[in-house]
Amino acid sequence: MSSERGGRARLDRTPLDGASLGSLPLLKKERIWNAGDFTGVNVALAIATWAFLVGGFTALLVGFQQGIAAMVIGNAIGLCFMVLASVVSSQRNGIEQYTLLRPVFGVVGVGVLVFTVILITEMGWSSLLAIMVGRAVTQVSNSSFGTDLGPESLLVTFFALVAIAVSWFILSRGPVTIGRLNRLIAPGLLVVTVVLMVFLVLNTSLDTLFTAAPLAPFDDEQLNFMLAVEFNAGVGVSWYPVMGSLARLTRTPRAALWPAYGGLLVATLLAQIVGMAAALTLGDSDPTVWMMPFGGPVLGAFLLLFIAFANITSTSSIVYSTVLAIRQASGRLLSRVRWAWLCAAFFVLPAVLAFFPGFMYDKFMVFVTLSGAFLSAMCGAIIADYFVMRRQRVSLPDLYRPGAASAYHFTGGVNVAGISAVIVGAAFYLAIYNPITLETHPLFSYTTASLPAAVVGALVYFALATLIYRRRGIGDFVEAATPARAGQS
């Protein structure tokens, strides 16, 4: 991550390799970020190319005013429970989120979730970013060399594969290389956003923006708005897989909580609003399409190529945490596989998906909302476990004890309550809103689907964990109401 640069660089000088240290609790002297540092990290992460894409896709459903409202409401909701589920416990204990999931899902249960929900989510995002690179390069080629390459041409796939190969190379070099590149890319993206805002002001008026019609709405206006809210809530929740590994590097709870929420929210909204405004002005949701006419042939091409490169480093950043999680969740199975090979294995499916660029773009909203269904339910279960049933107390030694020696072994390594909560919560989400068929329950128009899915996940977890484990003294749940000290068993 952009962000892990300082901490990781320091950690990599220890005798242990990055993957080993990645799972160990950090000590006070290694937690190097104050609130300002962490705010910068989150701003750099949020002002990324996917924000322009999300803004453009929001413009498919709603106009400018409704779009801003949908972005604010959706991100406020999604980020709220994402931050509570990932940032708080990782900061307190100095441990990344996947190790801290063991009390909620059991060590085997974490493996199941990592190899399904997390892996699919991150593979989807990385393939989409790679395809965006392919489209960006072909757009520049069309504009500069007069070629006529379509958005689904073979060259889009070719450059997407090149992007994946470069991402793999960067990733295989380790987090220090990712950090160095992001030190250049993050401020660059901030400049790009500001430049786009200037072009926006020059090329359009507020009146035009506020009267611009959505690009491809459904007939039902309220449904369009709620779909936009839900989409943005899904985007907010989708930060879950990367945030815990960053928050562990912060010095105090407040240095983690507010910068994570505020940094992501403000920067995301800024970039998404620019993306939405440009899409509404130029009539296309795809930043690789509107960037050239928006910025002109020279500057537009430069911006587009910069964004293409930024996509590559963004991919490396999000995949880093995921591959680390895969290695940890697999136990001994993948612990001896070389880092570079493991990264290569991750990119196999994104590489296959690169052959279907149209499919990935068409299904972008479906993919985000569907992964949001599972991540929301997961967040609900995690919040119920950490804040309600453990009162923010986790036994650090038990996180690392093998098998039945750990208090978090539960039923054969699976916390049945946690896995059931995810399944029931996600099923509830799909019952309220099915992103594939677009069927909705009347409740969806008032509550979104993410929020009730998280609440259902929390309630199911609380009920089942109490019934199956807590009453039988299994799982080291806290009985008293007083918060205990960190690391206490």
Binding site: L21, K28, A69, V72, V83, T252, R254, Y261, G487, Q488
Partner: protein, 57 residues
């Protein structure tokens, strides 16, 4: 257990001991208070209400 595993185990044990002894009461490992959590959720709800206000304008 090979040498790498042994190194990791020793390192882990050392860290757990340091956390349980020297960093036990350190502000960096403080739990969030009810007020912290209430404020956080309250601010999130307020921001969502701002979004509704934007819609109503």
């Amino acid at each position: 257990m090979n040498a790498a595993d042994a190194d990791t185990a020793v390192e882990l044990q050392g860290r757990l001991t340091t956390i349980a002894t020297e960093e036990r009461d350190d502000p960096s490992r403080r739990a969030l208070t009810g007020a912290d959590l209430g404020l956080f959720v309250g601010v999130s709800v307020a921001i969502a209400l701002v979004g509704i206000l934007v819609l109503a304008l």
